[in-house]
Symmetry: C2
Subunit: 340 residues, 2 copies
DNA sequence: CTGAAAGCGCTTACAG
DNA sequence: CTGAAAGCGCTTACAG
């Protein structure tokens, strides 16, 4: 059982290589020149002993953990599938930059932010699914570590924020439908509870769509969507029954768009012949649900990646990273032929 | 700017409370009796200074990080939605037991296991999506930290393993269909690449289904499913065209079952009147995809939770936790009326 | 009930 | 180019 062997420390390496511990440390970090001969002896010793730097000790000495916190919330009554793409892109981007990810799903997000920052478990924090008056922001501002958000809060003071431009997304869709001749449109927004919770993307999109439609003289009928079956289906049916003369539908709701193909097929509604449909979702999401609709790309990969990159910039050099930034990803309409 | 203040250490608390650092430490841990008066002064000082124990320093001193690693793989060509439920249950269970989660998605899983274990970043590791000859297992066995697996490998030696009983799941389904009078059944397995990668749940389920059907004299037609559109739909159509006399379908394939309602509706196949359908998926998954089928519950919550609990047991007391355990969750058929 | 001191495994000025 | 030493912020025998 080699498991009895104590784990090798930098001191063991130093002894085996016949040098001092500081020399091993500098050989590891490259922070000062080491003779070729010495370096080779050290490398050899590291290999033989299977040495790896103890992360906790390094963190204590450098005051850097090389980890970032990823705060994710799972709300009851929520349609979760889109979340994974953000988690994944943050994780991948972090690793590429040499950071590990502490994944936190505590119900109490504020407490979680305080816990991981004040105990110095992480060098920075990424907040997912940020709401208008997100309680986690105060905790983040009070922390000594920087933070980056995916999702636009009401007050962006001092924080780096990344989000899709939902207002422009709505305008792009309305313009698209207008140019095709549509004059009466249904709009399905996120569920009411998303608005109530402060999911700003809901009203940012809706208000922009209504404003734009108004400018063109388009009749637009806004509705809340649902997030759970069977309510989703009931809801879609009710909306379609109520608006038989509408020629197009804008769906800004993951759960609704995922269920739409079924409902339309059952009702015998052909897309785009009977009804034009435009939506907003990530390409991967569309593939998962076999969605054939023209849609604005929601870009979870890009957003997660941007957030991490900016965060790491601030971690590495708090001074150079400049003032807080709010960045909106421009919508890109991917035409899949579901409008006419 | 209070941000200039250095972060409070245990020494600051000790000074403020007029006691020694060790007393503060013991007050924190509760590892020895402290007089009420002293304890109050310490609590007061902690509050005033906003003190939190430095996680890295504690980890260094105790050789415990209070974190577990969660190794998750994202394969190209994979249907991802089910993964999030495992991630979530592991994360929730870990937090309930006082552990944080280091979430790792490196392409090279072995290297990732070595990295986080040998650098002592975690006290233990949970492996998700384990394959028959999973290369991460050697790295895990070589580590000084314990590990728990979700998914059955070919060699379970020395490892705690948790998985659904896929063989029994298949038998339950075949029995169910047999008792309803079905004598010709279609079986849709996971995609071929899952089998090739060593996803043992694929053949464990399939072989058991074939064996059981054989015993009953049921004709069973096994097929690989697909994982991406439009291949999924093409595949289902081809299978149904090839087996017009089959009266039931067992679907052991997330992507296929998610797309099935659409295909059946388009073809005008009524369930269960024209075709009985049984599948295997988690309740949440079924809700997400609005699936109306009778199915064996895949229990991601239970599996993730069991893995974490066993892992923490081993972390806390490596001696008492006993020999490695392989636990299969019994299948539970949830009847949703899709068979007749 | 409490304190002084050693030690966890690193990094980094300081010195040569 | 290299070493001895201090220090990062904790915990825990050891002593009283």
């Amino acid at each position: 059982m080699e498991s009895e062997e104590a784990v090798a420390t930098i001191g063991d390496v130093a002894r085996a290589a016949g040098v001092s511990r500081s020399t091993v440390s500098y050989a590891l970090s490259g922070n000062r020149p080491i003779s070729r001969e010495t370096r080779e002896r050290i490398d050899q010793a590291i290999l033989e002993l299977g040495f790896t730097v103890n992360a906790g000790a390094r963190a204590l000495a450098t005051a850097q953990t090389k980890a970032i916190g990823l705060l994710s919330q799972f709300h009851r009554d929520e349609f979760a599938p889109a979340m994974l793409q953000y988690i994944r892109s943050v994780s991948d981007a972090a690793r590429e930059l040499g950071y590990d990810v502490l994944f936190v799903t505590d119900i109490d997000g504020s407490a979680a932010v305080r816990r991981i920052t004040s105990s110095n478990m992480v060098d920075g924090v990424v907040l997912l699914d940020v709401t208008h008056a997100d309680p986690r922001l105060d905790a983040l501002r009070a922390a000594r570590q920087p933070g980056a958000l995916v999702g636009l809060p009401g007050d962006t003071e001092g924080l780096d924020v990344f989000d899709l431009d939902f207002g422009e997304s709505a305008r792009v869709m309305v313009d698209h439908l207008y140019s095709l001749g549509h004059r009466e449109i249904i709009l399905v927004s996120p569920p009411k509870h998303v608005f109530e919770r402060g999911g700003a993307y809901g009203w940012r999109f809706r208000d922009a769509a209504i404003e734009r439609a108004g400018r063109y003289g388009i009749r637009i009928h806004p509705y809340y969507g649902e997030s759970q079956q069977p309510e989703i289906t009931v809801n879609i049916d009710a909306i379609l029954d109520a608006r038989p003369t509408a020629t197009a539908m804008i769906v800004h709701n993951d759960a609704t768009i995922a269920a739409l193909p079924m409902v339309l097929q059952r009702r015998g509604v052909r897309v785009p012949d009977d009804l034009s449909v435009v939506s907003l979702y990530a390409q991967d999401f569309g593939r998962t649900f076999s969605l054939p609709y023209t849609a604005v790309e929601s870009s979870p990969d890009k957003l997660g990646r941007m957030a991490v990159q900016q965060l790491v910039r601030r971690i590495i050099d708090p001074g150079q990273a400049g003032p807080a930034v709010v960045k909106f990803v421009a919508p890109e309409l991917v035409d899949r032929g579901s409008t006419a």
